[in-house]
């Protein structure tokens, strides 16, 4: 050992002689405080994925096997579920409060997802937003897409990578008692099926300015292809959603 190494170790020994405050009381006190919902920015992806949805109610309650199957499937794509009477009281929001992230170009958004191009089931999008590796494509209301639960929007297609999303504390919410959930056939999706959530409006968690909030959501179709989870939301009926999903898959 050289003199330099010895001298460096002497500095280390002097460091060890410094008085040290016990961190346990302060950390304990902070752990005991009510949890704030403000979330570090790097968790935006997990939270955006949480915005992918929500879950079951009467239909699921009447069918424990389906409830288990649906919730297991949702967990597999990074989404946990709950039922709450507060679901239908969540606010209708505009795009500025929908927690979709920042506006982004379509080609840049596709690159974030590892896609050559964004799917366009309703033609050219009106807007594209992204947060982390989650992208949401927006279409204005039209003949095949009535007004959704987001003001000024006819359809939203959110696509998220699942790799960074497995944070059990941040996952989604919340159904009213008459929301229904069913698996529907969707060729080319993983497992050959998608999950359709409809009926009474449900709520989804969104990441808005660093704060976790809920907003009201319309009908939703969720499917997975490899590492990407797709969530199509609008006020259209099931068959129209499935037709749009098939166009998105191509």
């Amino acid at each position: 050992m050289s003199d330099i190494e010895r001298a460096l170790r002497a500095l280390g020994a002097r460091l060890d002689d410094e008085p040290t405050r016990d961190l346990v009381p302060a950390v304990s006190a902070r752990l005991d405080r009510p949890r704030r919902r403000r979330v570090p920015h790097r968790r935006a992806l997990a939270i955006a994925l949480a915005a992918l949805l929500l879950a079951a109610a009467t239909a699921l309650a009447a069918s424990p096997a389906l409830r288990h199957q649906a919730r297991s499937w949702l967990r597999s794509v990074g989404i946990s579920t709950a039922v709450s009477d507060r679901a239908s009281t969540a606010p209708i929001v505009g795009l500025d409060r929908a927690g979709l992230g920042e506006p982004i170009g379509a080609s840049q958004a596709a690159a974030r997802l590892g896609l050559q191009a964004l799917p366009q089931p309703f033609g050219r999008p009106a807007r594209v937003f992204a947060t982390g590796r989650t992208v949401t494509i927006i279409w204005a209301p039209g003949a095949d897409r009535p007004r959704s639960a987001v003001r000024g929007v006819g359809a939203l297609l959110t696509i998220a990578r699942t790799g960074d999303s497995a944070d059990p504390q941040l996952l989604a919410k919340v159904l009213s008692s008459t929301t229904t959930v069913e698996f529907v056939p969707l060729a080319n999706a993983d497992g050959g099926s998608a999950l359709w959530i409809a009926g009474a409006p449900h709520a989804v968690s969104v990441f808005d300015g660093g704060v976790l909030r809920f907003r009201l959501a319309a009908n939703v179709l969720v499917w997975r292809i490899g590492a990407l989870v797709y969530r199509l939301e609008g006020s259209f009926p099931r068959d129209a959603a499935l037709a749009a999903a098939r166009r998105a898959i191509g």
Partner: protein
């Protein structure tokens, strides 16, 4: 960096903490706080080290679900501490590090005649701290973790998020640069 005492290993404590066991996380803090504060003192502003370590533990608590229990918990925690200390150091560029401060003091009487203190006296604490400050960040942090804080090469690699070989080469380059600056002949 082995945990002090207790029959429950770190991975089990982490698993319990993820499941919502608050006391398990407090035990983690109890086990690792000394190493966390040492690291924060070595890499960040002197007056901010305990706060940095505390904040790092809170960040670790929020991120615990992403911890891989097949890997040692200590280096994972210390990586968060190092990031927090660096971040605070950037915000307080002119803050004094504790290493600078303690180098300016007299050696503790209990170790004044130790081979380490004698070597430090020969080189001169101020010169050594100035030479350390002259290293680039990667080399300085590697030298500090390896020789000042006495972490193993494996722990240093895990804390700094680099390969084992990178630690060896950065440590060797760092020592060589210190030697050149101090014009010391290795013994």
């Amino acid at each position: 960096m082995a945990p002090a005492g207790g029959s429950i290993d770190d991975a089990e404590l982490a698993r319990r903490a993820v499941a919502g066991d608050r006391d398990a996380f407090v035990d983690i803090v109890r086990r690792h706080q000394a190493a966390a504060i040492r690291l924060a003192r070595a890499l960040g502003p002197a007056d901010d080290a305990e706060d940095a370590a505390q904040e790092a533990f809170m960040k670790a608590h929020r991120a615990l679900a992403r911890y891989d229990p097949s890997r040692p918990l200590g280096p994972w925690l210390l990586t968060i501490v190092a990031n927090e200390a660096r971040s605070r150091g950037r915000r307080a560029r002119r803050a004094t590090s504790l290493i600078e401060r303690i180098a300016a003091r007299e050696p503790p009487p209990s170790s004044a005649s130790s081979p380490e203190e004698l070597a430090l006296a020969r080189i001169g604490p101020g010169r050594l701290v100035d030479a350390l400050a002259g290293l680039n960040r990667h080399e300085r942090e590697t030298v500090v973790l390896r020789y000042v804080l006495d972490h193993s090469e494996e722990e240093t690699a895990a804390i700094l998020g680099c390969a084992h070989g990178t630690v060896k080469s950065r440590a060797a380059r760092g020592l060589a640069r210190l030697r050149a600056q101090l014009e010391e002949v290795p013994s």
